[in-house]
């Protein structure tokens, strides 16, 4: 299946954005992002703590809808999903 990953702000600088990833069917959100983030240690450490859990301030969206951090580990991904990962917002 194909998943689009968009990182923003500081996470984008560390990990890139608009990544189109071919990945195994049946994957869930958090392990998938851990796998993507492993390419850059600073990027990985910005997103995950020492247990591999999303840090408290990391915001996750799937197809434009907020995902609770606690649900991310088991949330199954579907072909065509867009996952966005970003730090707290600071507009205005």
């Amino acid at each position: 299946m194909t998943i689009k990953v968009r990182f923003f702000a500081r996470f984008r600088e560390l990990l890139g954005t608009d990544l189109i990833i071919d990945y195994q069917v049946g994957a869930t959100l958090a392990p998938f992002i851990r796998d993507i983030a492993k390419k850059n240690k600073d990027g990985y450490d910005a997103l995950f703590d020492e247990h591999g859990t999303f840090r408290e301030f990391v915001i996750i969206m799937r197809n434009g809808k907020r995902v609770e951090r606690g649900d991310a580990a088991l949330l199954p991904l579907a072909d065509g999903d867009e996952i966005a990962i970003f730090p707290p917002v600071a507009g205005g």
């Binding site: 702000a9 915001i59 970003f86 707290p88 917002v89 600071a90 507009g91 205005g92």
Partner: protein, 140 residues
């Protein structure tokens, strides 16, 4: 007009266009790049989600505060000190609704709209921390 764009806007024209039948007050909020010893500010948005969130905020402000017209223009890209970042124009029958509606919109934008600012400083660049650590949309 609810939009995210690089270009500046003509605020005078927005005010004229916000005058509707029944308008008794228009409030303009203009957020500006402040000279905090920076060279420029760079803004980035998750545009589709940010626009949708701003539309929801405008609808809720209209409902709660009986607004007759709302414009929200949030700029992105590189902006110099003194440039406009965010322009909110609201029109209402009476000033309490116009002030309250404008205030509601800016505070909700700061909580929920996925936009980020980076200060390009003389002594190094810095992402501006969010005021609401758990903001940006609602679960579900």
């Amino acid at each position: 007009m609810i939009t995210i764009q690089k270009e500046d806007v003509d605020i005078g024209k927005l005010i004229e266009d916000a005058k509707r039948a029944g308008t008794g007050a228009i409030v303009v909020f203009d957020g500006i790049v402040r000279d905090d010893d920076i060279r420029e500010m760079e803004l980035e948005a998750y545009e589709e989600v940010a626009r949708a969130e701003m539309e929801k905020i405008a609808e809720e402000a209209t409902r709660q505060h009986h607004l007759l017209h709302v414009d929200i223009i949030h700029r992105i890209g590189k902006l110099a000190v003194g440039e406009n970042i965010l322009i909110i124009v609201v029109s209402a029958g009476h000033r309490p609704d116009a002030y309250a509606g404008s205030r509601y919109i800016i505070e909700e934008i700061k909580k929920h709209v996925p936009i980020w600012k980076k200060e390009l400083r003389k002594d190094g660049d810095r992402w501006v921390p969010g005021e609401h650590p758990h903001g940006a949309g609602t679960p579900g």
